[in-house]
């Protein structure tokens, strides 16, 4: 009896999981259909896959936006880590007055709506001629992810036992040396999770990008949103474009499953 219910539950979970994954699967499949096949009723399951849509969106210039997204994502994550990791280290392991207050104050900024600062940002970037520039987005995404990085890395640093740090100091290593040689190595898995999550957020960000970039610095999400309003509802081409934007997340996620999942569950809290 017990076995039957457990088998039934597994089956039920499988069905729900497939339903859940269906939208993503469907997007991938549709990218390889022609426009007319894509809107066929009933939907065609058997068709001759073609790369035509990918070719069309490529020629329409998706490559440039893809490159923008990659560059902005990587550069902003590096900067955010350089600033955020040391701050997290200080908050976790060094003696700082009002530690908790500082942490609370830093995290709280993560929850605020971007709308609250977008007008001054727009004016600032306009004045220094950085509207529609990759640099503007890099700086903003770095800033956006620093609180997240501080919050996540602090909890990883907290897991490092204090004895290890003391031991390095007895050996005569300075605070900085201890940080680079010992502690950073110990938290490496956590660091990977944190970096991945920061990349995911940068890759998907839309409000900053759509407000502050137009043609030169537009990222993939901005391109997709504008494609939809300008070209109308070409589902097959949209699906191809969407697949291109999902693909890096899937590839990255596949290789770093455990870290990405941990990052998502921890960091989504601060989304």
């Amino acid at each position: 009896m017990k076995k039957i219910t457990s088998g039934g539950l597994t089956l039920l979970t499988y069905v729900i999981a497939i339903l859940f994954f269906f939208p993503i699967l469907w997007i991938f499949i549709t990218g390889f259909k022609t426009e007319s096949e894509a809107i066929n009723i009933p939907p065609s399951l058997f068709f001759k896959p073609s790369l035509e849509n990918f070719q069309i969106v490529w020629e329409a210039g998706i490559g440039g936006f893809f490159a923008n997204s990659v560059f902005v994502t990587l550069a902003s994550t590096v900067i955010a880590l350089l600033l955020g990791v040391p701050a997290a280290y200080a908050l976790a392991l060094l003696k700082v007055k009002h530690k908790d207050d500082i942490l609370f104050w830093i995290i709280s900024t993560r929850f605020l709506p971007i709308a609250g600062i977008i007008i001054p940002l727009y004016l600032l970037f306009k004045n220094v001629n950085l509207l529609d520039s990759l640099l503007a987005l890099i700086l903003l995404y770095a800033g956006m992810n620093i609180p997240l990085i501080i919050w996540m890395m602090r909890s990883f640093f907290n897991d490092v036992s204090f004895e290890i740090i003391e031991a390095t100091q007895v050996d005569g290593a300075s605070g900085l040396q201890a940080f680079f040689q010992v502690v950073l190595l110990l938290v490496r898995p956590g660091l990977v999770s944190t970096a991945l999550l920061s990349m995911v957020f940068a890759w998907n960000e839309f409000f900053f990008a759509v407000s502050l970039s137009y043609t030169n610095a537009a990222t993939l999400p901005v391109y997709m949103a504008s494609y939809m309003t300008q070209e109308g509802l070409f589902w097959a081409k949209m699906s191809a474009a969407a697949s291109i934007s999902i693909l890096p997340v899937i590839i990255l996620g596949w290789f770093t499953q455990r870290q990405l999942v941990r990052g998502l569950t921890m960091g989504a809290v601060k989304g």
């Binding site: 729900i16 993503i24 997007i27 500082i102 709506p113 007008i119 997709m224 989504a268």
Partner: protein, 313 residues
């Protein structure tokens, strides 16, 4: 003598550590001071100005921008939509997250695969989600192809009906049917989050407790209702707060999936803010919306963070 020496060394180490800490923290703190708090103050300043064209005009308007917003048809619609979006979105995310959490917690085979599948949408952008669901819930191309065999053909996000509506200010207050389509898409994306939270919580329920309840003759259903779910209350509170603040800020999904909709049935404050500022050049109006959003989010988030901060000790 030795003790004093030790103390002195310790103090020196401490001050050195202290300076390292300060150096590590200062950049982040300064950046936040300027770019978050400074800019919020600046936005507040714009929101009480007369700046409603391309030409900056910082003359003082008092609360005029706020007053006219609350009398505005579009903003009143936004408030209505946000209220119902938030309620349905949170409800769905909690029910699905808890339900799936309990299912997966039955020690099924392939548990981590399931978890990853449900978490995956969280790693996508709301733009992709919007594109996908705009299609799936499009009355002529999507799910309706299947539903029509059962004689149901909802109009999803193109529906302009307001359920149980009554006159309220400029608008009809009630449940905008179109918002339900957006809720489904948003819940699909965020269920993984509540699932992960509940799974962690379910792991924390001691087996002895369930065993004891079972000995007392409680059915599995009763165990969940009377023992497990009450124990998960703190997690439910966290999920509610975090989802609420997300839904108050929601922008990307609406922008990609439906836009404002006919009669603003799917409009939200962030979309209004973006359009009035960057398409309409009405900076003062946009700033006022931003400040209102900021205050509402803060009302939810600050007490929550304050509490969890105290909980750390």
């Amino acid at each position: 003598m030795e003790l004093a020496e030790h103390k002195k060394r310790n103090r020196r180490k401490m001050t050195k550590d202290h300076w390292t800490a300060v150096a590590f923290l200062i950049p982040s703190v300064i950046l936040i001071l300027i770019f978050v708090y400074g800019f919020i103050a600046w936005t507040g300043y714009v929101s009480v100005s007369n700046w409603s064209t391309l030409v900056p005009d910082f003359s003082f308007a008092g609360l005029q921008n706020y007053i006219s917003l609350f009398q505005d048809y579009r903003f009143q619609s936004d408030l209505r939509n946000t209220i119902f979006f938030t309620i349905f979105f949170i409800g769905l995310v909690i029910v699905m997250g808890l339900g799936l959490g309990i299912l997966i917690d039955q020690k099924l085979k392939g548990e981590s695969l399931f978890r990853n599948i449900f978490l995956f949408p969280m790693a996508l952008s709301f733009i992709v989600t919007g594109v996908v669901w705009q299609w799936l819930l499009n009355p002529s191309t999507g799910f309706n192809q299947f539903l029509k065999f059962f004689g149901i053909t909802p109009k999803w996000y193109t529906d302009t009906n307001i359920l149980a509506g009554f006159e309220w200010g400029q608008i009809e207050f009630g449940v905008p049917v179109a918002i339900i389509a957006v809720v489904i898409a948003a819940a699909w994306q965020m269920t993984g989050f509540s699932l992960a939270m509940y799974l962690a919580g379910l792991r924390g329920v001691p087996d002895e407790l369930r065993e004891a309840a079972r000995m007392d003759g409680a059915s599995e259903f009763q165990i969940y209702r009377k023992v497990v779910i009450p124990m998960l209350m703190p997690i439910t509170v966290s999920v509610i707060i975090i989802m609420a603040h997300m839904s108050l800020k929601i922008f990307d999904l609406i922008y990609a999936m439906t836009g404002s909709g006919a009669n603003f049935v799917t409009d939200v404050p962030a979309v209004y803010m973006y359009e009035t500022t960057f398409k309409g050049n009405n900076y003062a109006n946009g700033a006022a919306i931003a400040i209102i959003m900021l205050l509402v989010v803060a009302v939810f988030i600050v007490p929550y963070l304050w509490n969890s901060r105290k909980g750390d000790h």
